[in-house]
Amino acid sequence: MLRKPALLLTIAAGILVPTGLSAAPDPAAKPLKDGATREARSNTSQESPLVSTEWLEKNLDARNLRIVEVSVEPGVFERGHIPGAQNVVWHTDLVETVSRDIAGPDKFTALARRLGIDGDTTVVLYGDNNNWFAAWGAWVLAQYGLVDNVKLLDGGRKKWEAEKRPLDTRNAEVAPSTFTAQAPSPKLRARFADVLAVAKRERDEQILDIRSPDEFSGKVIAPAGIQELAIRAGHIPGSVNIPWSKAVNPDGTLKSKEELKALYAAAGIDGSKPIITSCRIGERSSHSWFVLSRILGYDARNYDGSWTEYGNAVGVPVVNLAGTVWGGK
């Protein structure tokens, strides 16, 4: 009775299984081109703030390397991460959870020791969402003096996965470090008073607002689905709008140094004046901070208070191009 359907299913399975397998090329079988090798070599230089996926895969076992994933979506790290990577949860590990602040020295010391990070350890950060929170991580690490030894994986998780490079679900075991954090440096962080001084033209600095054009113009207060809002819509006077995503190629990698220079120069940001990056909570803007500060070498600070602080402040000047009242018309 059942021979025929069983045969049909077997044939169907027989057809599908091999095609399914051939759809996933074996990454190990793909020989690296000469160009890729050269790029990998150049990446090892201490100057570059980026490492390529090729370089990282070749150096996974390097002794003085710590790979750290900072992703937004829960469970992403656990279900498969770059072999040897450790997990950092941005909204509990990198911040204070009661007051609104970056992780204090004690908390950061404990985190760095757990991750086995010292002043001379090479740290490669990566994450989902185009490295948003990995860049936030780089900004927090930089305030604790971990600057030149901290790199971003160019293209982040997205590129690593797209290239079908290996993932691992096991936990890395690293020897704890003896790092001790001092008070965070104030040089990379803009505070409300700094931004207000620029808004009132008391200080000659530039503000780069990297939110979407609709947030910048005041048409909306925040992206759809966001609960943490401001009471007013619009932007800080004197700021220019270049959404963070313009700095990124479709494959997730950052654009070339020349392209980035031209992108910001078109809006009048050429590094001649100090720059403050800003967004809604200071997290997407740390992506642009990384580009300006680490790639282009400009004097840039990130304003993590951003619109949720400024747009809620009383008595400060605001520009609202859309003319919204309480977020509506």
């Binding site: 399914g20 829960p74 656990e78 279900r79």
Partner: protein, 410 residues
């Protein structure tokens, strides 16, 4: 254990003569089933080729496997409970316990790797570990009563949709309405109770080893009285293996072991098993569009469980999971000649809708159903899974007793 003969204790609807597929020759049904299987495989293959599509493809495959297992073993929480209460047959309930035992062990292996130290303040990623309090008990009771009235839980209605059940569409519609009622009642419940209800995760307090031992001991204690009431084993008969897989009903314990394994694998690769995230998300989207929802659902999106985040994407992992479940159950029912569509009677419509509303309200306020909160919760070591489970079975028993006494339920 033996393979139960086909059609044993199956509450199948009366056979409809005009029903397409019913009674048709095997080659027609098998060809249709094979076409569905090929279609599902092709869809999974297509999804897996798109950037970031591996999760979608896996969700579809896990959904299809889950649907196949549910249909083949008739893994239905209410039917097993009713078989025990009314028919004194404990085999189905033992199957549910087998699913939990296999899943508890599987989850312990995964969780131990993901979070070597469970003692901190963190919970394992997206495991269904919910708040434990009076609302959870109410949710379980409501869900159980809804099962008794509508004839099964949400996951079983889904696989029965694939069998052409006349009740299932109304039960699922009722579930959507129940979700909306849940959203409307959420804020007062959250402020009065849920915000202060503890989120209890056994491994945090006991470690993985003790937590596993305690869960297995509890399951064994529940199994003990059931094992003593097993019917006398029948003489083994030789069965054609293909017939055993595709036509005869699987013994429930076998389905249970498969569910436990699937639960573990799904958690490892995609997320805990659950069937209400999509229903709840779509209900929330629709109710929001109609202006029926409060502006803010306090704290809802911070809880674990079958997340009901508003859906704006066409494809979601849970949506694909449900789609795979229903289609695979349909294919499995076709081969086994258990696809019996029928026109619904008025009683089926009323029971489906009212039971469905109770199912939906319970699944919304309980942050999941018999799959998401009970199965996936207990497997993860969540106290909420146990509490919901006990309340659910109690609610079903009470409603069954009441229904039979008043003559409203069979």
């Amino acid at each position: 254990m033996r393979a139960a003969p086909s059609g044993e204790a199956l509450p199948l609807p009366t056979r409809s003569v005009s029903a397409p597929g019913a009674g048709r020759a095997l080659p027609v049904r098998a060809t249709l089933a094979a076409a569905i299987a090929v279609g599902l495989a092709a869809a999974a293959w297509r999804l897996s080729g798109e950037p970031g599509g591996a999760r979608f493809a896996l969700s579809l495959v896990f959904g299809a496997l889950f649907g196949f297992v549910l249909q083949r073993s008739r893994f239905c929480f209410y039917c097993q409970w009713r078989d025990y209460l009314v028919g004194s047959d404990p085999r189905g309930m033992l199957g549910i316990l087998a699913a939990l035992a296999a899943g508890v062990a599987g989850y312990a292996v995964v969780l131990g790797a993901w979070m070597p130290d469970p003692s901190g303040t963190r919970l394992p990623p997206d495991a269904h570990i919910g708040p434990v309090g009076p609302v959870l008990i109410l949710a379980g009771l409501s869900f159980g009563a809804g099962m008794a009235i509508s004839g099964s839980c949400i996951s079983a209605h889904l696989y029965r949709l694939g069998e052409g059940s006349p009740t299932a569409p109304f039960a699922l519609l009722g579930t959507g309405l129940g979700f909306v009622l849940g959203f409307v009642s959420w804020n007062p419940l959250y402020l009065a109770s849920l915000s202060e209800a503890p989120v209890l995760w056994l491994p945090r307090h006991l470690g993985y080893g003790l937590s596993l031992a305690l869960s297995l001991a509890l399951l064994a204690a529940l199994a003990w009285p059931l094992l003593r009431r097993l019917p006398a084993p029948e003489a083994p008969t030789r069965v054609d293996p293909l017939r055993a897989v595709f036509v005869l009903r699987w013994p429930v314990w076998l389905g249970g072991l498969a569910v436990g394994a699937l639960g573990t694998l799904a958690y490892l690769r995609v997320g805990p098993l659950g069937v209400t995230a999509e229903i709840g998300g779509r209900a929330r989207q629709a109710a929001g569009a109609l202006g029926l929802l409060p502006d803010r659902l306090e704290g809802l999106d911070t809880f674990r469980g079958c997340a009901t985040a508003v859906r704006d994407a066409l494809l979601t992992p849970n949506g694909l999971f449900i789609g795979g479940l229903v289609l695979a159950a349909f294919a499995a029912a076709l081969i086994a000649d258990q696809f019996r569509p029928a026109l619904p009677t008025r009683g089926q419509v009323v029971r489906g809708l009212t039971g469905g509303v109770l199912l939906g309200w319970g699944a919304m306020t309980g942050l999941g159903c018999s799959v998401g909160t009970l199965l996936s919760g207990i497997m993860a070591g969540a106290v909420s899974g146990w509490v919901f489970g006990f309340a659910m079975f109690a609610g079903a028993a009470a409603m069954l007793w009441f229904g039979r006494r008043t003559g409203l339920l069979a």
